[in-house]
Structure formats: C-alpha cells, structure tokens
Symmetry: C2
Subunit: 339 residues, 2 copies
Amino acid sequence: MTIATLQTIANIVKVSRSTVSRVLNNKWEDFGISQATADKIISKAKDLHYIKNEAALSLRVKKTFTIGVIVKDITDPFYSQLVKFVESALYTKGYNIIICNTGYDLDKENGHINILLSRWVDGIILSPIQKSIENISIIKDRNVPLALFDCKIDKFEADYILVDNKAGTMEAVNHLISQGHKKIVYIGGNSSDLNNRLRYAGYKKALSKASLSITEHYVIHGSYTFKHGYEAATELLRSNDAPTAFFAANNRIVLGACKGIMDCGLQIPEDVSIVGFDDFETATMLPSPLTVIRQPLRDMALNAVDILLSRMDKTNNTPCMTRMLKTEFILRNSTRKIN
Amino acid sequence: MTIATLQTIANIVKVSRSTVSRVLNNKWEDFGISQATADKIISKAKDLHYIKNEAALSLRVKKTFTIGVIVKDITDPFYSQLVKFVESALYTKGYNIIICNTGYDLDKENGHINILLSRWVDGIILSPIQKSIENISIIKDRNVPLALFDCKIDKFEADYILVDNKAGTMEAVNHLISQGHKKIVYIGGNSSDLNNRLRYAGYKKALSKASLSITEHYVIHGSYTFKHGYEAATELLRSNDAPTAFFAANNRIVLGACKGIMDCGLQIPEDVSIVGFDDFETATMLPSPLTVIRQPLRDMALNAVDILLSRMDKTNNTPCMTRMLKTEFILRNSTRKIN
DNA sequence: GATAATTACGCCATCGATTGCGTTAAATTT
DNA sequence: AAATTTAACGCAATCGATGGCGTAATTATC
C-alpha cells in the first residue's frame, strides 16, 4: 500500500540502507556483500514493487537526467518531428525531456527558462523567439549545457545547430531558373527573422548569378502563416504581371500559396511552379506532390543531443561551435519546364 | 560562479536557512521576521541569482509538480495539439510535463511508465497502445492520478477521457445518406482497435436506420495510415461496383483516400464525396476543403488536466468516471448531393 | 597461535529546502 | 521591579539515495 523506500527494505531484511542501495545498483560484489543477502534484498524489492526516487537521487548526485526542450509551436510539424527525434535519442541514454511550448510568447519563454533552471535540468535545447541575449545568458551563467536551435544570435557564444538556409534556397531557386523561369516570387516569413533573411539572401544570389534582376513586387515578406502564403499568391497571380514560379519560405506559407494558386483556377505544375522550404508529411499528399527543400531534422536533433551530452562532461572545454547542416533538395512534381 | 543555495545566502546574511526560506517564500510576516532582515535576504538572493532547487523541494514536500504525458506519436497532429493544450493548461497551474513518445512500441510504453513513476510524477496522462492491464495497473497501485485518453479498457476502473466515436460517425454517415448516397465505403483503422470498432458501429447503425444494407466489400479495415486510405480508395474506384462516397476513420486515412480519388482522375466533391474523422490544419488546405468530424481536443485536454488536478487531492474519493465528449460536425466542401 | 587479509556489512554526512518546536532578548504590563 | 507577552529568529529532523570510511567477524597465512 505505502510506497517502499530503501529504508523499508532495509528494515525488513535487517540490513542497512547502504547495503540495499548497493545491491539494487548491482554493485554488491564490489562491496563484498554476500549472495544470500543480495538475493533476499532483491526479492523483497520485487515483492514491494520498489522503485527508486529520482528526486532524491538528483539531489544526491547533482544530476537530473532531464533535458528541457523549448519550442515555439509544438503543433508545427517541424518541431513535433524534432521533439520526436530528440526524445527517442535521449530515451536510449536514460534521459527524459520536459517540453515547453512558448507559442511565440517571450514571457512564457522566460518563465520556462527559469523553471527549467530551478529543476536543475542537465541541458536545454532552445529554439528562441528573439535574438535577445538577456533571458538566454542566464542559462550560460548557470553553466547549463545549451544547444541553440534554428536561430543564430549575434555576439552570443554558444553551441548552435543550424541549416544552411542560404544554400538551400539557392538550390531551390536555381532549379526554377534551370527550368526556364524568370518571374520567380519569394514569399517570405517575418522580415526581421534571421532565417527568413538568409533564405532571401539565397534567393537574391541565385537570381544574380543567373543575371536576373530582382523585381521588387515579387518579394513579399510577411509571416510564416498559411494566410500570408495564400494572400501573396492570389494577389500576384491576379495582377497584370503574374509570375510563373514561387518560392515559399516555410511549410505553412507553401500550403497557403498552393491553395491560392488553385483558387485562381490555375494548376500546379502546369500553370505555375512552386518550391517550398521544409518537408512535411502532407507535402506528398497534395494533388501534385511538392518539390521542397528538406531540413535534416533527424540529424539536427541528433546533433543537439550530441552537443548536450558532450557538454555535460565538465572537463570538456572545447570552444562552442556552430554545426551548420546541409539541406536536401527533394524533387517531386510541383515544377515544370517552360520556354 | 557557483550556484547559490539557501545556505549560501544564510551564511552571508548571517541568519539561518529557515529564515531565508521563510523570507523567499513570502511567509516572513507569519514568522515575525523583521523587514530589515527580509530586505537584506531578498536583495542578496537577487544578487546571487538564487533559484530554488525543485528536486530538494520535491523530496521534502512529496510533490514534483510534474505530469507525465505518454502518447503514441507526437508527430500526429491529434497528439501534438493535445500536448499543446495540456502544456498550456498545466503551465498556468505551475506544472511541467515530461513527454513520452511510445511510437506504438509496448516496451517503450512500459519503460516510460516506470520512469515516470520513479520520478514521482504527480499524475499521468496516457494514451495506451493496448487494452492490456498489466503495465497500467502498476500506476494505479502506486496511487498516482491517471487519466486514460482516447482508449477505454475493459474492466479497468480509471478516469477516462473519450469522445463519442459512434455518434460522431453516425452524424457523418447520416450526412452522406441525406445527400442521396447509397454506396458508402467505410475505410477503417486496425480492426482490433476499439475506436475503430466504435466508429464502424456508428457507420452500421446509420446505414441500418436508413434501411440500407451493409455491403461487405465496402468495409475495409486496415491501419491508420495514408497508404491504407490510398489503396482502399483506388481499389474500390477501379472495381466494377464503384462507390459514390467514403467515410475515412482518421486524418491519415482520409488524406490517402483523397489522393487515391484524385489519382483515379476523379474530383472531390463532383465525382466522389468524402468525410473524415479528425480535424486538422491541412484539411482546410486541400483543393476541396474536407468535411470532417472534429474531436474537441481542447476540451479533452482540459478535462484530462482537470481530472488529474482533482485526484491529487487525496481526500477526493469520488469514484472514477468516464468523460465522454461530443464530436462536432464540420461542413466544408467535400460532399455533394446526388440523385 | 599470533598476525594479516579478506568478507560483509554499518555509520553517518551529504544533497537543498521545509517546518514543528524551541529559545533568547526586548518590550510591555501590572 | 517582577511577570508576561511578543518579536525575531535558530535547531534539528525530514524527505530518499549514495558513498567514503570504519569495523567486526571470519578465514587464511606463517
């Protein structure tokens, strides 16, 4: 009925707590505990359904086997997949994760950081909302291993996991150019967002390399939403200088743009070509499966885990590093050659 | 540099740990501690960036302010949304969640249950893989509050959060019938899955109420996957007794079926009508937005949280209850009247 | 038969925060 | 001035697990 602790078992078998602890941690041989005693302890522990108290252990060994993961929106496939991979990798190492969803709310991000620190987590994977240092440097001050995900913060020494947004976008736009497209639209996210800027830089570079000039009204920053993608696409397609191809800066924008294209009575890829950033399950399920730039989420997750685990070794003083991963171009069926 | 504890502050201010604890918990007036002392302590705590150690607290007060959430697949929008709502509701109450992803692996489910118990979580929300009792009853034995989600287990007393699968499906099928459809296919999930059986029961009842007989080859159980939906739809549409409408038992099946329909050169809703179980973001983004049965995920999450919190009050001996929530019929544009 | 070595454990401090029960000194009352 | 109250704190146990150090008892060695 009541919950068994080491003491409970110790009392029954008439040994000390230490002995019980040693036996249950499979160290009894090192401490010269007889097989008979060990057997008695083990069997009693089973009888009583003994389960160790991790809180007590944490206190003693100053390690919680817990990692905090702070994401912006867990319902975004990008993050839910990340969480899945991180959880899986850490599970095999004996760690659990506390998930924190900020919902793009900076106060909540701050709150979560404080809570995670008060829980003495062994590490934090953070996909920060802002490029502000204040709330994040407290993590560093406490010397808690930190992996910054998907966002580079200027002048802040830390371990970063990034993808090569610029090169990835270039590849996508190059593909459109090689198909003969000249009127290529960039539908972007928030204009202050660093990833968006890098993707835009890739777009610009691809165009200039092909000696195409930037058409101003073909660049539409906004937000990473379905709505923005939809509005940008419909507006342009109904203008008197309609484009022939789109690049959409994330998974939600691309869906919005696709819907917009179809609502204009046009077909993909027959009438309009489109490439998106981010791969996701439903990208393959659209009438014309989307050609996309895939972020190597599994690799990103494994790298983040790897960094945290290695930083837990306090003798590890290697300088912080940025791991920049390559994107992958996935050719499906949403672009077409034109003349 | 080093981390401040109560003792650290106590040493500096030259008071006892108790006094520091009382001040930092805003109880100093109850214990007659002078404002001057309190001020000194508070300011020192700020200076040293004192953050309390929750592990020590847990040990002392036998409460961890942690809830375990075990889901089958966090990348499924159904679960990622659930997690989002649960996280948000618990955050305001001062609780964190440890997320456990089983990936439909029973061993992992077991492992996670054990880990959560060893962490002395204050409650568990579990969406179990099987209807087996063994691994789950250990939670009950430990007297840990448990909310069983989306799966009723026979003969197992517990608090359940369910939706009315049968009534929801009936509503969907009734809608198809009222539009004049008589050849209605049921594409289901795993035939042993309880939810699938209940949904199928709703399908059968709707047909029989309308005096339509069950056509055997119009019922295709299988799995909750895109592939199954696709194959079922294409196979039937190419047969010489093609149906005019589909009911798909979850979000992935419905996407597969839609793709299958389109790959057969048919249009939704012009040529074929379809209704799906589960609402999800991309349902609105298809060429023809899907008519679906929505599960009240937010309500389900809030109910689960509510149950757990109330069960934490150990004087609460109200018998276990099943909260059966109603689904919502969301009419979009994937069905059409025929004659 | 005395000494050394090994076996088989136990004691107790520790991790950090909380809390019931004191205790001391000052202030107030009579 | 003696007695009582109140203000302002401290002591030490507690939560559960761990591990360094110590020790009694048995066995082995010379």
